[in-house]
C-alpha cells in the first residue's frame, strides 16, 4: 500500500545570484565564502520548517496556503525532486508529479517522444514505452498535437498528459500542483470518473490548487502551510473554513 511519511522535514535553499554562480568569482578568497550550499553571509531561505505529515493510501490531501508558503516545495519534496535539508522522508509507492512547471524530460522532444522517454525512465522497454505513448495519447485526447514539441503545451494539456501518464504508468502517489484549474472541465469529469473513483482507495493524492471547488469535490484532508510550517491540519471542510478569508491564493 502506498504511503508518504515526513518526519521533522526542513528544506533550506541557498539563494543563488551572480555572486555565487560564477566559477571564477567562487575561486577568489571572498567568493569562496559565498559559493557553498550554506553561504557564510546567511543568504538562505527556509521553504519548509519542521514538517511532520503522514498520508496513507486512500487519503486525498489538499495543501492550502498563500503565495510563498511552501506548497510547491512540499510537492517537490514528495515527488523526490528535492532532498530535505534535515529530517526524514519515507515514500512507499511510485510518485507521479504533475506540476505547472511542465512535463518535459528532454529538450525539444515531441509529446509522443516525451511519453516514450517517461516510459523508459520508469523502467519499461522501448516497445512497451511506445505502446504506453499510444494509450496515453488516446486517453488524454492528444492525437492532434502529439507531434508538437512538449515545450509548446499549454498548462491544460500538461495536466491531460500528466494524468494520462499517472494512469498508465500505474502511479500510486499522484501529486497535482496548480494544473487542474487550467484543464477542460469535461476532461476533469472524465478523469474523476475513470481514474479517481476507481483508484482512490489505493492511491495517495496530494492537490495544490487555487480553486477550492475542485478540492472540495475530491479531498478528504487538508493542511494549511504558512511560512513553511503546517499551522492547521484536519478534515477538508474544517480546514477550508479556517482558511477562507485568512489566506489569498
Amino acid at each position: 500500500m502506498s504511503l508518504i511519511a515526513l518526519q521533522n522535514v526542513w528544506v533550506e535553499y541557498p539563494l543563488f545570484g551572480a555572486w555565487n554562480r560564477s566559477f571564477t568569482r567562487s575561486m577568489m578568497p571572498q567568493g569562496r565564502k559565498n559559493a557553498g550550499a550554506a553561504p557564510a553571509n546567511g543568504r538562505m531561505i527556509t521553504a519548509l520548517r519542521d514538517v511532520t505529515l503522514t498520508i496513507a493510501a486512500g487519503e486525498r490531501l489538499a495543501v492550502l496556503g498563500s503565495n510563498g508558503s511552501g506548497k510547491t516545495s512540499l510537492v517537490r519534496v514528495l515527488a523526490g525532486l528535492v532532498a530535505p535539508s534535515r529530517g526524514s522522508i519515507r515514500i512507499d509507492g511510485q510518485p507521479s508529479a504533475i506540476l505547472s512547471l511542465g512535463c518535459e524530460v528532454y529538450p525539444d522532444a515531441t509529446i509522443f517522444e516525451t511519453i516514450v522517454l517517461r516510459g523508459l525512465l520508469s523502467g519499461k522497454s522501448r516497445r512497451d514505452s511506445i505502446v504506453l505513448a499510444e494509450k496515453v495519447i488516446e486517453f488524454s485526447e492528444l492525437s492532434k498535437v502529439s507531434g508538437q514539441p512538449i515545450g509548446a503545451l499549454s498548462s491544460g494539456l500538461v495536466f491531460r498528459l500528466g494524468i494520462g501518464l499517472a494512469i498508465f504508468l500505474g502511479s500510486d502517489i499522484v501529486l497535482l500542483d496548480e494544473v487542474v484549474d487550467t484543464a477542460d472541465p469535461n476532461f476533469v469529469t472524465k478523469v474523476k470518473k475513470q481514474f479517481l473513483e476507481k483508484l482512490m482507495p489505493n492511491i495517495v493524492l496530494v492537490i495544490v490548487e487555487r480553486s477550492q471547488a475542485i478540492m472540495e469535490d475530491i479531498c478528504t484532508r487538508a493542511i494549511i502551510l504558512d511560512n513553511g510550517q503546517i499551522v492547521a491540519a484536519g478534515s477538508y471542510r474544517e480546514i477550508a473554513e479556517i482558511s477562507r478569508g485568512r489566506y489569498t491564493y
Binding site: 543563488f16 550550499a37 525532486l81 512547471l101 529538450p107 525539444d108 522532444a109 516514450v116 525512465l121
Partner: protein
C-alpha cells in the same frame, strides 16, 4: 536508477536529437560531415601551401589533417554540447527526475553518430586518393573505446560543474578553442622541435592520437595509452566525487 534505464533513455534521446536535426536541413548531421570535408579541403590547401617546404607529402598532410579534425570534432562536440545544453536541462530537472548521467551519454551517442559518418567519408576519401588499406586496425577500436570513456567522464564532470556555475560553458568553450590551437591538428607535430615535450603534456594531443594514429596506420604510442588511462581514472574519480556532492544539492543549483 539502474544503468540499463539510463542506457535505454540515452539511446532514445540521442535519436530524438538526430531526428530534430533532420527536420530543418533534411540531410541533418550529414551536413556536419560535408562541412568537415570542406574545411579539411580548404585548410589542407591553405596550410599545405604554407608548409610546403616542411612537409614530406601533401597527401599525407591532408590525411593527417582530416583524421585530426575528425577526432577533434568528436572530442569538442561531446564536451561542448553537454555544457551548452545546461540552460534547457536546468529547467527540466526542476520538475522531472532525469538522471544527470544520461545528459552526457545522450550527447556522446549523438556525437558518435557524427563520428561514424565522418569515418565513412574519411575512409572513402583516403581509398580514392591514396593506396591505403580501407580496413582499420584493431587498435582503432580500443583507442576509440578509451577516448569515449574519457569523454564521457569529462562531459559528466563538466555537466555537473556547469549546472552549478553558470559561466563555465563559455570558459570550457574558450579552453577547447585554446586546445585546438595548441594541439598539432593543423600543424604537423614535429614543428615543435625541441619543445616536443609540450605535446607530451597536452591531454588533448594524447586523446586525439587515440584515433588519429590508427587512422593514419600508425601504432598508438605507449605513452599515449598510459596518459589516457591515467586521465580516465582521474576523470572517473572526479565524476564519482562530484556525483556524491551533487546528489543532495542539485535541486538547489537549478
Amino acid at each position: 536508477m539502474n544503468l540499463a534505464v539510463i542506457g535505454r533513455f540515452s539511446v532514445y534521446a540521442a535519436g530524438v536529437e538526430l531526428r530534430r536535426s533532420m527536420i530543418g536541413g533534411r540531410i541533418g548531421i550529414l551536413l556536419e560531415s560535408l562541412a568537415l570535408l570542406l574545411v579539411t579541403a580548404a585548410l589542407g590547401t591553405l596550410f599545405g601551401t604554407i608548409f610546403k617546404q616542411n612537409i614530406e607529402s601533401y597527401q599525407d598532410y591532408i590525411k593527417s589533417l582530416g583524421a585530426g579534425l575528425i577526432a577533434w570534432i568528436y572530442l569538442s562536440s561531446a564536451i561542448n554540447r553537454s555544457c551548452t545544453s545546461i540552460s534547457a536541462w536546468s529547467r527540466i530537472l526542476r520538475h522531472a527526475r532525469v538522471p544527470v548521467a544520461a545528459i552526457p551519454l545522450a550527447t556522446l551517442l549523438r556525437s558518435g553518430t557524427v563520428l561514424f559518418l565522418n569515418l565513412i567519408l574519411f575512409q572513402i576519401a583516403t581509398a580514392l586518393l591514396t593506396d591505403s588499406d580501407p580496413l582499420l586496425p584493431i587498435s582503432f577500436l580500443f583507442g576509440l573505446a578509451l577516448l569515449t570513456a574519457n569523454l564521457y567522464c569529462f562531459s559528466f564532470v563538466a555537466t555537473l560543474l556547469c549546472l552549478r556555475f553558470r559561466n563555465l560553458p563559455q570558459s570550457i568553450s574558450g579552453l577547447l578553442q585554446v586546445g585546438f590551437f595548441l594541439t598539432p591538428l593543423v600543424w604537423p607535430d614535429f614543428f615543435l622541435g625541441r619543445y616536443q615535450f609540450l605535446n607530451e603534456i597536452n591531454p588533448f594531443y594524447h586523446l586525439v592520437e587515440l584515433i588519429r594514429s590508427p587512422l593514419l596506420g600508425r601504432p598508438i604510442p605507449l605513452l599515449g595509452w598510459a596518459y589516457c588511462v591515467a586521465t580516465l581514472i582521474v576523470a572517473a574519480l572526479l565524476g564519482l566525487a562530484m556525483n556524491r556532492v551533487s546528489t543532495r544539492r542539485l535541486a538547489y543549483w537549478l
